[in-house]
Assembly symmetry: none
Homo-oligomer: 205 residues x 4
């Protein structure tokens, strides 16, 4: 039984990365089931046999591809961009940036992210492999917000809701509903978030 290589050598690592990249692209384009190993090999420029010396099976590629995505430059740079703002901190601009980041994410990777969600439900193994992609995004948002406006209690839960609201907005921007007007939704969302996060400032006396 051939062992799965854990590549140390540069050439090997490069090859493994090519597989991961190709796999991720295809999963994003067509989803998990509609992507065949042959397609992955072709796009990665490797042979079928080679694939199976780096990964035990197709599912492992999927997992690796997501690990890689969540830890990779693309996603991290995107997240870091959230924290690059010029003082003074303007919450509207910040929220706008959040929506843009999420929107870019959905435009490139929606199908794959959904598939990931699916797989997590179907497959305990994948579920354990990593939290939902939003975890990292949330942490970035929290970090940025914490630096400027503080809600001391229920932090995780508060920001999770903020994240959900932003995500909703980004989804709407990406996949429009007939009955929803994006600009109005944006106004409403921002107004909720601001009133919510900044309640101290709106205290009635």
């Amino acid at each position: 039984m051939p062992d799965i290589r854990n590549p140390q050598q540069i050439r090997s690592i490069e090859k493994k990365n090519k597989i991961i990249k190709a796999g991720f692209e295809l999963f994003c384009e067509k989803g998990y089931y509609a992507t065949t190993t042959t397609q992955i090999c072709r796009r990665a420029g490797i042979s079928t046999g080679a694939l199976y010396s780096y990964f035990r099976d197709k599912k492992e590629i999927f997992i690796a591809a997501f690990k890689d995505f969540l830890d990779g430059d693309y996603y991290n740079t995107l997240l870091e961009s959230l924290n690059n703002f010029e003082e003074p901190f303007n919450i509207d601009m910040f929220l706008d940036k959040c929506v843009n980041v999420l929107t870019e994410l959905y435009l490139t990777s929606y199908k794959a992210l959904i598939e990931l969600g699916n797989m997590q439900i179907e497959d305990q193994h994948i579920m354990k492999s990593f939290g939902r992609f939003e975890d990292k995004f949330m942490r970035a948002v929290v970090e940025a917000l914490t630096a400027h406006d503080i809600k001391t209690y229920n932090l995780a839960e508060k920001y999770y809701l903020v994240f959900i609201l932003l995500e909703t907005l980004a989804q709407e921007k990406t996949f429009t509903h007939d009955t929803i007007d994006y600009d109005k939704l944006k106004n409403e969302t921002f107004s909720i978030i601001k009133s919510y996060l900044l309640i101290p400032n709106r205290d009635c006396t």
Copy 2:
């Protein structure tokens, strides 16, 4: 092209329903791709041939199963229950009910609902077949809220956000995150929604 029976007789309708039921259950349990027609036949207690005399192909079963689900007693009774409250209207109890309804939905059908979302993205034909399942839910919520508390502008967008927040809560109840405490999330969510929907009542003077 083989004929698809459009059953008039009770026996036939029952059989078609058995297929739909079996299909829906399996799609919920394992997702669309992991469900085979053979499994559907076995669970429905029919032969392969019979299945194909009621449905042109597997995808049609999926569509029918969802049509049936969204129009069926189970979902509708669930939705109607939202409007059965004793006066005076208590918004906390109402929101609780909403979360419970969504939670029950996710517990029984999450995988299938996700798969539906997927398919809608992949497949324009399915997209047209019915709006997203939330549309109906939202309408029910709007109806109930409208009767008691009025937000005159951006109604659709406002209630959409309320829906999203409730859905988030229900999802959390169903599929727990490590970092989130459900009760706290519930408090926060309800407080947002209430402060949001009831702002007029809370006007500072």
Copy 3:
């Protein structure tokens, strides 16, 4: 085991004929393999079960359909028309008529006739069931020609060749070759046949 009915009653005979008619039409339109029993039943206006009380299997319908065609009014009237000419006998007009008859035959029944040929090769049983459809046509031609011009020896073989030549012409009329000019082919064919059949008249002295 249900016996195959040999229908005596008028109603039964009518039904059997409807099956035969429907089957023949469909075999002509789409060929044997592309025709399903269900289609035959639908066009005949009967139930699947009924079909199998008149015919043991699909092949029997095919055989019956051809028996019926070869013995039926359509074909026989067509053949008789060969003999309805006004005196004096004009061989060109007669040959023209022959070609027209064959052409009509091909236009309506080519696919079925070919399928018959096929089946005769594949299936000894069908082979025995009837000679090739041309046998009857040939006899009609022979009859007409014999009445006016006599070649005493090798009659069968001579007329068979004449038949083949006429058939060729009709086929060309029905399904054109790129390289062949129909009018020229007709001239050549007629000239062969005439010089062949009428050689006595052309004796050199």
Copy 4:
């Protein structure tokens, strides 16, 4: 869409040829519809998957088998043999050779040739793929005859008729009619062809 291998390597070409050979044999033996892909695989000694990596579907095998047959050694050698005669040119011997060539053709491939004809009618794609098998045969006959005896006008049509007559003879040799005596038919056929082609020599003065 799975890739179809276009084999360059000898081993691959050999395998593709094994499939074509097995397919052609089976099509000749039982016809297109009665031949299953499984049978082709078994006879070719390959797996189902392999078959589908060389051909997109069953029909493609059929087409390839015929392309191969018409362009292949067997048929070409047969045709070339028509032109290998010792001078002086003897038309009887030449015609005999023609009949023998056609007879051998029918004995080995009749069912497949018929099926090809069928398919050409049913399927425009196949129709375009190659002219009827007779085209090539005719060209060979024309070539041989042209070298020795000349009919200057309506050449194509004349030789087409000659071809038809020879084919008839070969068919009779292969699949006997009850009412026809082969030797007599041969005499008659040859006499027609000769008198037809050589009419100049028989001019009455």
